[in-house]
């Protein structure tokens, strides 16, 4: 899966001092996992991996270097690159200090789904090929095993990059509307029941927020003491308030990478919230975040010519 090319390119970038560091993925300590890694010397680029488990959004790892002078090469799937784009637009990271190695995303696979369907599995028994894998002598489509958040991905190809490794690909075909239709078709009561079930499991560990590349507030409203908006106790109402508040703060900014949902230790379907919000933004403002550096984000922009009466 272009792992060699990624390593070679990273090595070259470091050797030529084009960048000071490369942020990518390396093998995890558990099967079917890859973890973020920081590489600063050319010989360490051998550690880099790129596979169906390179799931965390790496754009968030740029943020600690915002006020440094480091130039960083970042491996970026479609969603990571979109998040970088929003960070650049929101002046959280300068374009000239990030070198985007764009990677058309092969789709991230859910370990939970694999285990659920196939039982006890070993990583070494799997061999992945384009959109399929071989396991126990049988060929399987990867689509049913994709993370929910990835199966509805509309932008597997990075819209912004300094170079692209791999071949551009088409989206999977299952769309966000499929997911939303399920919910939209439900009665208010059914929806409430669904979210009550989901949010009552939340332990407020903030893994969702911290995995999110665009949740970069220095002080999150959920942790503010003065004034105190939300209690730290994970009651249903406080959980609901936190997640809805977070959704509103991300409105028109969320790139639907689903890092929040994949980070959740309780497997709460958090990714559905921004899906709905972004659909509303798209319908009202014909805007999607992280697709263009020029286009203004509607909720972060003020125009005197705004047709909305309320804003004047």
């Amino acid at each position: 899966m272009f792992e060699k090319e990624i390593r070679r390119k990273s090595e070259e970038l470091l050797e030529t001092k084009t960048v000071d560091m490369v942020i990518g993925y390396t093998s995890g300590s558990l099967p079917f996992q890859a973890r973020p890694v920081l590489i600063s010397s050319p010989e360490d680029t051998e550690q880099l991996v790129w596979n169906h488990f390179s799931s965390p959004n790496l754009a968030r790892y740029l943020l600690p270097y915002r006020d440094s002078s480091k130039k960083i090469a970042l491996l970026a799937k479609g969603c990571d690159a979109r998040a970088v784009m929003v960070l650049i637009q929101e002046k959280q990271f300068p374009r000239e200090r990030v070198h985007i190695i764009g990677l058309p995303c092969p789709g991230m696979i859910s370990k939970t789904k694999l285990e659920k369907e196939l039982g006890e599995i070993k990583e070494e028994d799997f061999s992945f090929e384009k959109d399929t894998f071989l396991w126990q002598g049988k060929k399987w489509e990867i689509f049913p095993f994709l993370e929910d958040t990835c199966s509805r991905c509309r932008y597997p190809n990075p819209p912004l990059y300094d170079e692209l490794i791999g071949e551009k690909r088409e989206p999977w075909g299952s769309s966000s509307t499929d997911y939303l239709e399920k919910i939209n078709g439900q009665s208010e009561e059914e929806r409430w029941q669904f979210w009550e079930e989901e949010f009552s499991r939340c332990i407020r560990c903030y893994a969702c927020r911290n995995a999110c590349p665009l949740c970069y507030c220095k002080e999150c409203f959920a942790e503010s003491d003065l004034p105190r908006w939300v209690s730290g106790v994970p009651t249903l109402s406080d959980n609901l308030f936190f997640h809805l508040g977070r959704s509103m703060h991300l409105a028109g900014r969320c790139v639907e990478c689903g890092a929040c949902e994949r980070a959740c230790p309780e497997e709460i379907k958090i990714g559905l919230l921004p899906l709905k919000v972004e659909m509303i933004i798209k319908n009202n403002f014909s805007f999607e975040a992280g697709l263009s550096l020029e286009e203004d984000a509607p909720l972060l922009t003020y125009r005197e010519t705004d047709p909305g009466e309320f804003i004047k």
Partner: protein
């Protein structure tokens, strides 16, 4: 010294008779349920771990109000009725060897004590350690038991049981052959687990407080609280006053992974970045607590490893520090 304990076999029917009768007062941990769910009625309450019962995520410590002349304080009433918690050995050890030592030593935490004294523990043997398990590194084991708790090994049609209590009225005694079988199960489970950390580890680790290794170790941690909130031993909490002239003191879980955890009123923060917070989590469990209490504040259940969104693995941190210590140890 461990005194000889009762042991016996309880037939499936007798066990059901007992557990059905108590089902409203039985708690079962998620992990014990995944192994032994079929031994418990569906009505039992499933909890993540003992902490959820003994130190709930949020509780009122006391209520207060201003009478117009002075402050009045009313202590909350905890009604803890007797209950049973069945868990894996690591999870029971988290209570007996960690949280009990914190909340039942002077000063005694009243709420914890009231709940704890009415909670009987049942330890379910761990026959199949998971790839994330490392109880044996930190002084526990898949057959770890305590004289204050029941110890159970569910078998095909009966349960081997050790300890004290009413269940023994059903007990039928144990043949030598069965004892040997139990020992074989123990050996098998232990064989897949790592070896005990060196006894000098807690003391030596502290000497590496300023070590550069922490920078690299902590780099990919996103500082969420999944590990600490799901940890059966992490007991840190926060206190907040809810209300003005009338209100209550609220105790809620806190996490050393959060920036606010150590934020001073002056806005100085002694643990300003992820590095200091990760180091604190490791130091507290593997140096400060064991230096003070004689055992690690980690029971090696591996939940933090399993649930971490970025695969931050505490075992690697420990391994790397052990390596470092051994390399320079004179």
């Amino acid at each position: 010294m461990r005194k000889a304990m009762n042991e016996g076999l309880i037939a499936k029917e007798k066990w059901w008779e007992w557990v059905e009768d108590k089902k409203d007062r039985v708690f079962l941990t998620e992990r014990a349920k995944s192994r032994y769910g079929k031994w418990f009625p569906r009505e039992v309450k499933v909890v993540k771990n003992g902490k959820e019962i003994l130190l709930p995520p949020g509780e009122e410590v006391y209520r207060y109000f201003w009478t117009g002349e002075k402050w009045k304080i009313e202590e909350g009433e905890i009604s803890a009725s007797s209950a049973f918690l069945f868990s894996l050995p690591c999870e029971a050890r988290a209570i007996i060897e960690v949280t009990d030592k914190i909340f039942l030593n002077n000063p005694i935490d009243k709420n914890y004590w009231l709940r704890r004294k009415s909670l009987s523990l049942g330890i379910m043997a761990c026959l199949q350690p998971e790839p994330t398990c490392f109880c044996s590194s930190v002084g526990g084991g898949p057959f770890w038991r305590d004289e204050g708790a029941l110890f159970l090994v569910p078998r095909e049609d009966d349960i081997y049981i050790q300890g004290e209590g009413e269940l023994f009225s059903f007990s039928e005694g144990v043949e030598e052959k069965i004892k040997e079988e139990i020992q074989a199960l123990q050996k098998k489970a232990e064989s897949v687990l790592p070896s005990l950390l060196p006894s000098y580890f807690p003391q030596e680790l502290y000497r590496y407080f300023e070590d550069e290794e922490w920078n690299e170790l902590s780099w990919h941690c996103i500082n969420c609280g999944a590990c600490t909130f799901l940890c059966p031993t992490c007991y840190c909490f926060d206190l907040n006053v809810e209300g003005k002239l009338k209100g209550f003191q609220l105790r809620s879980w806190d996490s050393c992974m959060f920036p606010k955890f150590t934020l001073h009123a002056s806005f100085h923060n002694p643990r300003p970045t992820g590095k200091e917070r990760v180091r604190q989590r490791v130091m507290h469990k593997f140096s400060y607590f064991p230096e003070r209490e004689g055992n690690f504040a980690c029971v090696g259940c591996g939940v933090c490893v399993e649930k971490c969104p970025v695969n931050w693995d505490i075992r690697e941190a420990i391994e790397r520090m052990v390596e470092k210590i051994d390399r320079f140890r004179t």
